[in-house]
């Protein structure tokens, strides 16, 4: 090993960088003994987990057939279950002949979100405004019925569709409401500030499950008898308020990070409070807390599964119900893996988007 070294003195590391795959391996995976150890350990962990998983999920899996007997002999996953129940996982108990309405809402929603979020499409104000103000009305009419469409009661709504309805509503409500609460909490007016503090602290101090229970069980007790508004609506209000309280604290963190001089400069130019906040403080504060906002959205998205405890069946609830059906006993793992996969995709998409957004807003104005 040292044969060359003894005759010509110590071997110096090559000047400059070693190129090619070998150089990359050296630099990234085996740069120190400790890193080498970690690399080997990780490779070992991957080796003992990934092949069996692939065997289970793909190679030994069954997709064919229409019931449990199709999977009888196979050792892998029984995707037949997911295949047969796919409609329910996506649409809940929504009438099959009306599902096109859900599809239209999905399609319009996705188009608007893509248009509002992707940097290359112009007219952000229009697509964003349409998503926040027009789309909810459209979705409400299409999903719920009216204007000539047969009514579909919300107790039939379920699956991924319900998950998205809850998550989108809470997201769209919580951002503006969170901004208002954060501004109120930073206000110098004692009543405004006090109201915001009490609201935020009460809502944050209570578990989401309690908020949902209160919305679905307690609220009707206070309403006059006979007046009974929709269970889903109550859950939406509860979750939106809950999410707003968290959002408010995330945004307040951003507000506090903006130097006082920014506000003073705006005031000295004669800008009033609304414009100082809207044009100077909020744009900077929101940009600072993008990771926190997206973090809230992701955790909100997953929290929507809690609506199951008040008898609404979101994606996870549908999976759970379907797998306790005697026809499909023993298929719960496949169901959960499917649900995890869908949730994972949405959360990953949000997280990637936020990273891209941060990079895009970062251009050039870092130094001060």
């Amino acid at each position: 090993m040292d044969a060359q070294g003894t005759s010509q003195g110590p071997i110096l590391p090559p000047a400059g960088v070693v190129h090619g795959p070998l150089g990359w391996l050296r630099a990234n995976l085996f740069s120190t003994p400790f890193n080498s150890l970690l690399t080997v350990l990780c490779l070992y962990l991957l080796w003992i987990t990934v092949p069996p998983l692939i065997n289970w999920a793909i190679i030994d899996a069954t997709v064919s057939g229409t019931d449990r007997t199709a999977c009888a002999g196979a050792s892998g996953a029984c995707w037949t279950f997911v295949k047969m129940r796919f409609g329910q996982f996506i649409y809940g108990l929504y009438p099959i002949e009306e599902r096109w309405r859900v599809n239209v809402v999905f399609a319009v929603g996705i188009l608007l979100v893509l248009a509002a979020l992707s940097p290359r499409v112009p007219g952000k104000l229009w697509s964003g405004g349409a998503f926040v103000f027009v789309f909810p009305v459209l979705a409400y009419v299409l999903l719920g019925g009216g204007l000539g469409l047969p009514v579909v009661e919300t107790r039939l709504w379920g699956g991924l569709m319900l998950t998205l309805v809850v998550a989108t509503t809470a997201t769209v409500v919580s951002l503006p409401l969170g901004i208002i609460l954060a501004l109120a909490r930073s206000s110098r007016m004692p009543i405004v500030k006090g109201t915001a503090v009490v609201f935020i602290e009460v809502v944050r101090g209570v578990p989401m499950i309690t908020v949902l229970f209160m919305a679905s069980v307690m609220l009707p007790l206070f309403l006059p008898p006979g007046m009974n508004f929709d269970k889903l609506m109550r859950a939406l209000i509860g979750i939106s308020l809950f999410a707003s309280a968290y959002m408010a604290e995330v945004i307040r963190g951003g507000l506090q990070a903006i130097p006082r001089g920014q506000i003073e400069a705006a005031q000295a130019l004669g800008l009033n409070y609304t414009r100082t906040m809207g044009l100077i403080v909020l744009p900077q504060a929101l940009k600072l807390v993008i990771p926190g906002i997206v973090n809230s959205f992701i955790s909100l998205f997953k929290d929507t599964t809690l609506v199951a405890i008040i008898g609404l069946f979101d994606l996870l609830g549908m999976v759970q119900t379907a797998s306790t059906n005697p026809e499909w006993l023993g298929s719960s793992v496949e169901g959960y893996v499917f649900a995890a996969f869908v949730f994972g995709c949405f959360c990953l998409a949000m997280s990637r988007y936020s990273q891209a957004l941060e990079r895009r807003l970062e251009t050039g104005h870092r130094r001060r």
Binding site: A268, L279, Q284
Partner: protein, 251 residues
Amino acid sequence: MTPATPSTGPAIQIIGMHKWYGDFHVLKDINLTVEKGERIVVCGPSGSGKSTMIRCINRLEEHQRGQIVVDGIELTSDLKRIDGIRREVGMVFQQFNLFPHLTVLENLCLAPIWVRHMPRPEAEALAMSYLERVRIPEQARKYPGQLSGGQQQRVAIARALCMNPRIMLFDEPTSALDPEMIKEVLDVMVSLAEDGMTMLCVTHEMGFARTVANRVVFMDQGEIVEAAAPEQFFNAPSSERTRQFLSQILH
């Protein structure tokens, strides 16, 4: 609100003004009159209340006793009056306080568009003319974070000028700058003075005070100790405290 034509009285009149931070008496019986077109330099040791005094003039700080009259309008807690006065009084800060999320041009256009309701093309033309005046028109599309300190401070001056103010307040505009950038900012201020702008500058640039100021005001411990024309102030100060301060600062 603001009178359409300038009033005939002084630009700024401060009469018997006091200010406290809690129990701390920061400003004690301040009396100062600034005539139209007058250039006043305020100096004094750190903590003497210079910043607090000029920040009271556009109500970034609130005074508790006495009167401040700007261009014939007395400052009260009436928001309309405050906004009216802020439109006529430009301010330049030690830390520049440019808006980092907006380009230089957007920084300049913001107030004309949102406060003066000027159409955007007109506001941009105005902004470019002031950028030329401070000699950095080529930086219009950059963000403040991409400029040097001297350039940033010149943008900040141009931003204040875009509101076409009758009075300019400067709070140590060159203190955060490297020595080689101080001159470019002072040059802009001198040219402003030559155009007859009413200026109230907190600064320790004594060269600037000597050549540009009509009067130099010395503050110590919240009081105006001395106010005199530059020759008298530098050559024959009447108070012992002024002499001490000058000997420290001029060596």
